[in-house]
Point group: C2
Chain length 196, copies 2
């Protein structure tokens, strides 16, 4: 692959892969285009041939995160035999596991305001939209007879609870006034109970 010469060959993908690693291990703030370029043996200006700016690279990383998340969630939905409530429960566990295993990436995906901007990065809109749709889908499986407004309402509150729990736990907020944080299972159970 590497020509070991003027042209790198696959710089765009390697930049993305390297940035993804940094994001997962140290968080998005630790991503430096200069660092990345140097580590890939390329000049500091080279990355700008593939990504207009730093945010574009991070958006691409976030998009990939959404794709992974969607894939995991879809594997839960794929089992048409599973009872609706169990689909919902396992779906939340997918989120909790993702957030626990790849905290930096999760934070980039949901805490960065890419999607709240006037012009959200086009690479991450489709996978992000798909991820949201799957939440709705899971809730619909759990409540087949509920009307759309109810499903949306329940999805919003349950998703808020899960997301909030993840964020608060990540920041060690529970340690200060609780004996210890709740287990993943306990949270999924509580949310599930609240959405029924």
């Amino acid at each position: 692959m590497k020509k070991d010469s003027y042209h790198h060959g696959d710089l765009a993908n390697e930049l993305l892969a390297a940035a993804l690693k940094i994001v997962e291990r140290q968080g998005a703030d630790a991503v430096s285009l200069r660092d990345l370029a140097q580590n890939l043996g390329v000049s500091r200006a080279a990355p700008y041939r593939h990504f207009p700016d730093r945010d574009a690279l991070l958006a691409a990383v976030a998009a990939r995160g959404f794709e992974d998340l969607v894939e995991a969630y879809e594997s839960v939905l794929a089992d048409r035999e599973l009872p609706g409530a169990e689909v919902l429960r396992r779906g939340w566990l997918v989120y909790l596991d993702f957030a626990r295993r790849r905290p930096g990436l999760f934070q980039l995906m949901f805490d960065s305001d890419f999607l709240g901007r006037d012009k959200p990065p086009k690479v991450m809109v489709p996978p992000a939209d798909r991820a949201y749709h799957l939440l709705w889908e899971g809730m619909r499986r759990a409540h087949p007879q509920a009307d759309d407004a109810t499903i949306k309402m329940r999805t919003a509150t349950a998703w808020s609870t899960i997301y909030g729990y993840i964020a608060l736990d990540r920041a060690n907020r529970f340690k200060t006034f609780m004996i210890r944080p709740l287990s993943r299972e306990a949270v999924a159970k509580a949310v599930l109970a609240a959405s029924c």
Copy 2:
């Protein structure tokens, strides 16, 4: 106040006030010690006489945010006549209002990982702890006969829901797959219902 000469007079407080304004209007990322110094008519190095580094200044801003939040929450708890459930509901509204009116500050207080560090900044630990304690206090008022473990559990889940809703709404996450976000009242109501 201003001597218009070598010594500024109250640089520490003015730095804090100026930083607070920036945080509220543009978010913590927009805070630059150099900018602050210049706007206060002082040299770039002067701020370092009062705050060891940028994080220390931001921590002080966050601490002040917690103090304001505590004050608002305490005014709810102060009314001993109020029914417990109403105390709880108004308490959550305090959080929702604070987050809506001062989003940058709220984000600095809860999304920054100051409190998750090995050595959290000592200025913000007491007010932050107090804020958490008040949540517990509010929940206890709503459920006087519940045991401590139950109260903690309910506080954790309700707090997760509120916090998650704030974060998701702030980032415009609901717009994408919902018709429109829920009203503050609806969220408070849903959380209240879930904690009873």
